[in-house]
Symmetry: C2
Subunit: 208 residues, 2 copies
DNA sequence: ACGGTTCCGATGCAAGCGCATCGGAAAAAG
DNA sequence: CTTTTTCCGATGCGCTTGCATCGGAACCGT
């Protein structure tokens, strides 16, 4: 057997470089040459790991998505004793990427969301991540409001509340990045929304 | 006086072309040559109207923002007899750009939001638009919940509710574009949120 | 040690980009 | 009709991009 290389590891290493560059100059400013330089490899290596640039970006998106979802899960596991309500608060705060140290991830995420609007491949990867997060939210909401989910099926208003929460966190993230909101304003909005959730769990049902 | 040309009109014409292209291929796919072709003018004309490409994009963003805000205002004026509550519903629905015929605007908007995260010039233009919409929302919310705004100053929870509503609409728009939500799901989420707004107007205050 | 694989760094290439340039068309004023 | 000023279409330039190519270095089983 000839030379062997940890391909998956290198892929992640390259994905990190893509993130750094996308954070600084946006997704448009990501070129193969710059990525290679940032990842401390040659362009040839990058081309070997990813057949095309799109493949590289798609992998990077998946990588970031995994990281965020993983962090949310870790946050939940590290504080299992509390109520489902406060757990949901923590999870939502993580997803909103409000903390300064996650600003990079937030910018990368936003860049990919915009790109996904015109790239079906990216959109598919993105949808998978959103579905996972929404399911997680829905579980927590159903549990916190007493009606336990059965076989992974939540009452429809829990699904809807989860959709709302996910959209809200995404919107808040974007508004913070643009500078329309400060992180603490966004934090306030998010938690006010969550508080409101418990005070009227089941009323007001109409429309699809 | 020599030849005279409606510069502002041509600028708008070019901005429309930018929108069409951004809708199809994303903001990255917008080149001066393509814009010129789509706008039925020569590249020279485009260069005369906008000194640089960034200037062109910035103008286009302002143009789209104006159009959306204008449509929301028109929607409000066309149905002034109803309650502030239902007016807010209409306004929010417009902002969320859920209708299929506004999908183009939505994609353009999202593309600019992502770009603004790395371009202070675009971010400034965008902030102005968000501020206008948020103020509009806050007015309606304050009016609907009885506490009239005085001298354009709303109670803090109206401001916060407006921020939440704006972030929610933006998030929903993005999720619809990506295909994570259907338009009717987004519609349902939005109106459930609005309904919840009236049922508990002032409680749950903490954090900044 | 050595042959066979796998890897990769350097280089080349065609295409496309934003922008600068400029000669001449177009139009009001005399 | 001539002049003067504004406008713009065509063209060229320098640069960057993603990708293809390939000779040789690196490595492992034998």
């Amino acid at each position: 057997m000839p030379k062997q290389v940890d391909h998956e590891g290198r892929r992640r290493q390259i994905a990190e470089a893509v993130c750094l560059l996308a954070d600084e100059r946006g997704l448009e400013g990501v070129t193969l040459r710059d990525v290679a330089e940032r990842a401390q490899v040659s362009m040839g290596a990058v081309q070997r790991c990813f057949r095309t640039k799109d493949e590289m970006l798609n992998f990077t998106l998946g990588h970031v998505g995994e990281r965020v979802t993983e962090r949310v899960r870790a946050r939940l596991l590290s504080s299992p004793a509390q109520s489902a309500g406060s757990a949901l608060g923590y999870a939502a705060t993580e997803v909103a990427l409000l903390r300064a140290e996650h600003r990079t991830e937030a910018r990368v995420w936003l860049a990919f969301v915009a790109q996904a609007a015109v790239s079906e491949t990216l959109a598919a990867t993105l949808r998978a991540n959103y579905a996972a997060l929404q399911g997680l939210f829905a579980d927590l909401i159903a549990e916190a409001s007493g009606r336990r989910s059965v076989d992974g099926v939540q009452p429809p208003d829990a699904q809807r509340a989860a959709r709302a929460l996910l959209a809200l966190t995404d919107g808040l993230t974007a508004h913070v990045l643009i500078g329309h909101l400060t992180p603490s304003e966004a934090h306030g909005v998010l938690h006010a929304h969550l508080d409101a959730l418990w005070k009227q769990p089941g009323g007001a049902e109409d429309r699809a």
